[in-house]
C-alpha cells in the first residue's frame, strides 16, 4: 500500500468536491446556522421585554398607588394606564367590554373586570395595594421607615427539581438532536459523494487509466479518507462555529454532559464517515452508471434509518433500553446511538470504550472486504453485479 498514492487520491477528492458549488453552499448554510442561531438567540428580546401587555383604567387613583403597581408589575407585566377619572361607570364598563382596558381600578379600592377575574393581573395589583396599605398603617402606628422597609422585605423562595437533569434537559435534548442530525446527515451526504465518485470513474472509464498506476485498495482508501476528511472538516467547522457562538454569546447555560458529548460526537461521526463512505464506495462499484445507483443504495439506508430511529427513541425516551445498548455496540448504528446516550448521561465508560473499539474493528474489517470486492467489480461494466456475486466476492471467491 503506497501512502503517497493514497494521499494523492485523497487530495484530488477533497479539491474536486470542495470546489463544487453545492458543497460550498451547504457548508456555508450549516456554518451560518450554527453561528447565527446562538447570536440571534442572544440578541432576541429577552423575557423582560417579552412581557404580557396589560392596560389598566384608573378612576381617581393617586400617583403613589400607580407607581406602586408599576413597581410590582416589573418583570411580570408590561403595564399601560388610562385615566378614567370623572368618567361615568357605564363608560368604564363599555371600555372593558370593548377591550380598550383589561381592568379598571377605583379608589374603593375596587377592581372591575369585564367578565372574569384575571388572576395574574389581580395578583400584581392586590400585592401592590396591600403593600401600599401596610405602608400607610405602619406610619399610622408610628413605625419608622426602616421598620416598615424591614416588614416589606420579600421572602426569598428557592426552587429545586427532584430530577436534577430536568432543568437542563431541554438544552441537552436540543444539542443532542442537533448532533444526531449531523451524525445522520454527514455520513449520508459524504457516502453518496463517495458513491458518485466511484460510479463516475467507472462510467467515464477513467478507472482503467487509474488502475494502470494504482491498486484498487489504494484507490478505495484514498477516496474514503479524502471524502471522510472533507466531511470531518465540515463537521468540525460546524461544531466549532456552534461552540464558539455559544461561548461568546452565553446564549444558553450549557450543562456539563453537553461538553462531554461534543468530542464523542466528533469521534463517532468520523467512525460513521469511515463506515458509510466504504459501504457506499463498495455499492457504487457494483453499477456502471449513475442512474443505476438507486438500485443498490437501499440496503445501506436500513442500518442508517434503524440507527436514527433507535437514537431518537433514546433521546426522548429510555436511553438505557436493551435495544439502545445493543445498537450502541453495532458499528453501523453506534455512531448515532453513542453520542445521544452520552448526552443523556446514560452510558457507562466501559460501554463507550467497547463501542468505539468495535467501531474501529468494524471499519477495518469493512475496508478489507470492500477492497476485495472492489478489485473485481471496478472493471465490471454493463449490468450490475448481483447480490449473490457480491456475497461470493466478500467471502474471497473469484467472480467469473
Amino acid at each position: 500500500m503506497s501512502w503517497t498514492l493514497v494521499k494523492e487520491v485523497a487530495d484530488r477528492e477533497i479539491r474536486t468536491r470542495a470546489r463544487t458549488k453545492s458543497f460550498r453552499v451547504i457548508t456555508g448554510i450549516l456554518v451560518a446556522a450554527a453561528i447565527i442561531g446562538p447570536i440571534v438567540s442572544a440578541l432576541w428580546p429577552n423575557s423582560g421585554d417579552d412581557l404580557r401587555q396589560v392596560t389598566v383604567g384608573l378612576v381617581d387613583v393617586d400617583e403613589t398607588t400607580r407607581q406602586q403597581i408599576v413597581a410590582f408589575a416589573e418583570g411580570n407585566l408590561d403595564l399601560t394606564f388610562q385615566d378614567y377619572t370623572g368618567v361615568p361607570p357605564a363608560e368604564v364598563d363599555q371600555a372593558l367590554s370593548d377591550g380598550d382596558i383589561d381592568v379598571a381600578l377605583d379608589t374603593g379600592p375596587t377592581l372591575v373586570w369585564d367578565r372574569e377575574t384575571d388572576f395574574e393581573i389581580a395578583g400584581v395589583i392586590y400585592t401592590a395595594l396591600q403593600q401600599q396599605e401596610v405602608l400607610v398603617r405602619g406610619r399610622v402606628l408610628g413605625l419608622g421607615e426602616g421598620d416598615i422597609a424591614q416588614l416589606l422585605t420579600p421572602l426569598q423562595v428557592e426552587e429545586r427539581f427532584a430530577d436534577e437533569l430536568r432543568e437542563s434537559d431541554g438544552v441537552v435534548e436540543g444539542v443532542a438532536f442537533l448532533g444526531l442530525m449531523l451524525a445522520l446527515n454527514i455520513p449520508i451526504l459524504f457516502g453518496q459523494l463517495t458513491m458518485m465518485s466511484v460510479v463516475e470513474e467507472k462510467s467515464t472509464r477513467v478507472i482503467e487509466v487509474l488502475l494502470g498506476h494504482i491498486r484498487p485498495r489504494t484507490l478505495l482508501l484514498g477516496k474514503v479518507l479524502g471524502l471522510g476528511a472533507l466531511g470531518a472538516g465540515q463537521l468540525l467547522v460546524v461544531v466549532g462555529g456552534l461552540t464558539a457562538a455559544l461561548l461568546l454569546t452565553s446564549a444558553l447555560d450549557i450543562p456539563a454532559s453537553v461538553w462531554r458529548f461534543m468530542p464523542i460526537l466528533v469521534v463517532s461521526t468520523l467512525g460513521a464517515l469511515a463506515v458509510y463512505n466504504t459501504l457506499f464506495a463498495l455499492l457504487g462499484s457494483l453499477v456502471s452508471r449513475q442512474e443505476d445507483a438507486s438500485q443498490v443504495i437501499v440496503p445501506v439506508f436500513i442500518p442508517i434509518l434503524g440507527g436514527f430511529l433507535a437514537a431518537n427513541g433514546a433521546l426522548v425516551g429510555d436511553a438505557e433500553s436493551a435495544l439502545a445498548k445493543v445498537l450502541t455496540l453495532v458499528p453501523l448504528t453506534a455512531p448515532m446511538l453513542l453520542p445521544v446516550r452520552v448526552a443523556r448521561d446514560a452510558i457507562a465508560p466501559w460501554e463507550i470504550a467497547l463501542s468505539l473499539g468495535l467501531l474501529v474493528v468494524g471499519v477495518l474489517v469493512l475496508i478489507r472486504i470492500a477492497g476485495r470486492v472492489y478489485e473485481f467489480t471496478l472493471l465490471h461494466t454493463g449490468s450490475r453485479v448481483g447480490w449473490d456475486q457480491l456475497l461470493r466476492l466478500s467471502r474471497g471467491a473469484a467472480l467469473d
Partner: protein
C-alpha cells in the same frame, strides 16, 4: 529478451473463453502492431499485461522477470474506451496521472505543460475536459499516457475516431517514443497505418496468437501473391492458370496467384498474350494477409 514478453495467456469469463494461449513480444525500442478482429482477445491481453485482469494461466515478463507493480509504473496506457475525468482541467488531469505514476509534483507540473504543448493544447490547460472536442479529449488521453515518459506504451485502438491531422500527430509521437527508447504496442483496425508504423506485428484470433513477425515476414508468409499487369495496348483475355482475377482499372489486370507460382513464367506467358507496359509481382498487403489468417 529485453522488453515485454507474454506467453500462453489464458482467461475464461464464465462460459466464455477469452484467451486460450496468447503470445506477444514487444522488444525494447520497437513498435509492434497487435491485430485481431473484434473479440479476438486484444483488450483482455492488454489488461492482463497491466494487471487489470487476473489471468488464469500464462506469464507476463519485463526484461526477463515477472512484471511487478513497480514495472507497471513505467507503462503508459491508452484504453480503447477513452477515460478522463470530465470536470477536471486539462493541465491538472495530466499532472495528476503523472503523480500517480510516481512523478514528484514539480516534475509532473512541468511535464503536463510540455505535453499539453506537444499535443497542441497549451492554450486549453485551464479548461475542463468536458469543454473540449472529442478529438482534443483524445489528445489529452495521449498526454496522460505519456506524461511519465513510460518505457512501454500500450495503446488500445489509439487511432479510432481521429481526424487525419490527429492521426499524423499521434503517429509522430509514437515514432518519437520509439526513438527515445520506449517500446510501443498498439492495436488498430487501420491496417494501412499498422503496415506503415509497425516493425513487428502479432495477429490474434479466437483468443490465440495466429501469426507474429515483421510486416515483410508476414506478407511473405502468405500463400498468395499479387500479380498486376499494365498493358500497353488492348487488354487480352489472358489469365494465369491458377490465378483469380481481381477488380482493376481500365488497361490493368490484377490477379491473385499461389505463392509457389513461377513469376518469370507467368510474366513470359503474359507478354506472349499482349504488350506489357509494367508488371508487379509481390506479396499481398497486410490487410489481405490479416484476412487470410482470420477469415473474412
Amino acid at each position: 529478451m529485453e522488453g515485454l514478453r507474454v506467453e500462453g495467456l489464458h482467461k475464461q469469463f464464465g462460459d466464455i473463453v477469452a484467451l486460450r494461449g496468447v503470445d506477444l513480444e514487444v522488444p525494447r525500442r520497437q513498435m509492434v502492431g497487435f491485430l485481431g478482429p473484434n473479440g479476438a482477445g486484444k483488450t483482455t491481453t492488454m489488461r492482463g499485461i497491466l494487471g487489470l485482469v487476473a489471468m488464469d494461466a500464462g506469464s507476463v515478463t519485463w526484461d526477463g522477470s515477472a512484471i511487478t507493480d513497480e514495472d507497471r509504473h513505467h507503462i503508459g496506457y491508452m484504453p480503447q474506451e477513452r477515460g478522463l475525468y470530465p470536470g477536471m482541467k486539462v493541465h491538472e488531469h495530466i499532472a495528476y496521472i503523472g503523480r500517480l505514476a510516481g512523478l514528484d509534483r514539480e516534475t509532473a507540473d512541468r511535464r503536463a505543460n510540455d505535453w499539453a504543448e506537444r499535443v497542441g493544447l497549451s492554450e486549453r490547460g485551464n479548461d475542463p475536459i468536458q469543454e473540449l472536442s472529442t478529438g482534443n479529449q483524445q489528445r489529452v488521453q495521449l498526454a496522460v499516457a505519456l506524461v511519465h515518459e513510460p518505457e512501454l506504451m500500450i495503446l488500445d485502438e489509439p487511432f479510432a475516431g481521429l481526424d487525419p491531422v490527429a492521426v499524423s500527430t499521434l503517429s509522430d509521437v509514437m515514432a518519437e517514443q520509439v526513438e527515445r527508447g520506449a517500446s510501443v504496442v498498439f492495436s488498430s483496425h487501420q491496417l494501412d497505418l499498422v503496415q506503415d508504423l509497425a516493425e513487428h506485428v502479432t495477429i490474434v484470433a479466437g483468443g490465440e496468437t495466429q501469426a507474429t513477425g515483421t510486416v515483410t515476414e508476414l506478407r511473405n508468409r502468405s500463400t498468395h501473391r499479387r500479380l498486376e499487369i499494365q498493358w500497353a495496348g488492348p487488354v487480352p483475355t489472358w489469365s494465369p492458370p491458377d490465378g483469380e482475377a481481381q477488380d482493376a482499372p481500365p488497361g490493368v489486370s490484377r490477379f491473385v496467384v499461389p505463392a509457389e507460382s513461377d513469376a518469370a513464367a507467368l510474366i513470359a506467358q503474359a507478354s506472349s498474350a499482349g504488350t506489357l507496359a509494367a508488371v508487379s509481382y509481390e506479396p499481398p498487403d497486410l490487410a489481405a494477409v490479416f484476412l487470410e489468417l482470420v477469415g473474412s
